[in-house]
Amino acid sequence: MAANHSSHSEQPAKRHKHEGPRKHVVAYIFSLLLTLVAFATVIGGEINTSFIYILLLVMAALQVVIQMGFWMHMKDRGHLFPIVGIMTGVFVVFTIVIMAEYWTWW
């Protein structure tokens, strides 16, 4: 990792092609669709509540993948520490959510 100091700035600029907007528009449409599905299930109603909860959370998780993976470039190279940082935060949040759901009222 210490070699990192120089590796970034010395990349030849020519080799890299700037990505176009199309990929991001597709991601945007995809996230709109996910939102639409989430709202539709709730408005449509009449399904088992816990099933809806799971479905909603899956939709939300996919949205996060779009935002953080694509738009915040987390999927790109050199993002080891950002991933470790966010995932540790998520892990801590999991424990706190379990606390709130199971150990506050009984």
């Binding site: 700037h18 528009v25 709730v42 935060g89 949040v93």
Partner: protein
């Protein structure tokens, strides 16, 4: 360091990572977002623990929430996320004008979102859902309000950056700032995804 040699010359590829200062800033901000994850996670947990504590005669989430407003707000914020991506892309191409344009659109969308939220809160208060009504209302306003405050901070921040870039141009000092502000904006959007899912949609289901 290399910060100064780049100041006047051609902008390097990925200018936000061209200097050690820039790399520090981006990494530091990522870690800060890790901390923000715990901050919002704790707020969500409090909300989850208290969301059924409505009290007698007070409106429940099911009665209060209007999914139409929430859907519009979501649409606005998702779109602003896309425009901020375009801003960063323009930055990578060194198109300063385009970048500023996309940032301005992002700010306007952010203002629209904030306006909707204020209107929504105003409606709720009229229906008897005040901050101190119940544990549910306190945790609701704190969670959603914290997010709103983050949006407001983002709007002020990005506006200042637009002004700053207009004055100083795009260089290895300003580029990391814009990049980091973009990250912040996406993060706000991620938090909102969970707010509309956990607070509004799940609240509507009951």
């Amino acid at each position: 360091m290399s910060a100064h040699s780049h100041l006047d010359g051609e902008l390097p590829h990925e200018p936000e990572r061209a200097t050690l200062e820039g790399r520090n800033k981006v990494l530091g901000f990522w870690l800060f977002l890790g901390g923000e994850t715990v901050l919002f996670g704790t707020l969500f947990s409090i909300f989850l623990a208290l969301r059924d504590q409505v009290g007698d005669g007070n409106p429940t989430g099911q009665e209060l929430f209007k999914l139409g407003t929430v859907a519009i707000a979501t649409f606005i914020l998702l779109t602003s996320s896309l425009t901020s991506v375009f801003a960063i892309q323009a930055m990578h191409r060194n198109h300063v004008k385009a970048m500023q344009g996309w940032l301005i659109i992002t700010v306007i969308l952010g203002l629209g979102f904030l306006g909707l939220e204020i209107y929504e809160f105003y409606e709720y208060i009229h229906e008897g859902h005040r901050f101190s009504t119940s544990a549910f209302s306190s945790s609701f306003y704190t969670l959603v309000g914290f997010h709103g405050a983050h949006v407001l901070f983002g709007i002020v921040w990005i506006s200042l950056l637009i002004f700053q870039v207009a004055r100083k141009g795009l260089n290895v000092v300003t580029a990391p700032k814009v990049y980091v502000a973009g990250m912040y904006w996406h993060f706000i959007d991620v938090v909102w995804v969970f707010i509309f899912t956990v607070v509004y949609l799940m609240g509507k289901v009951g």
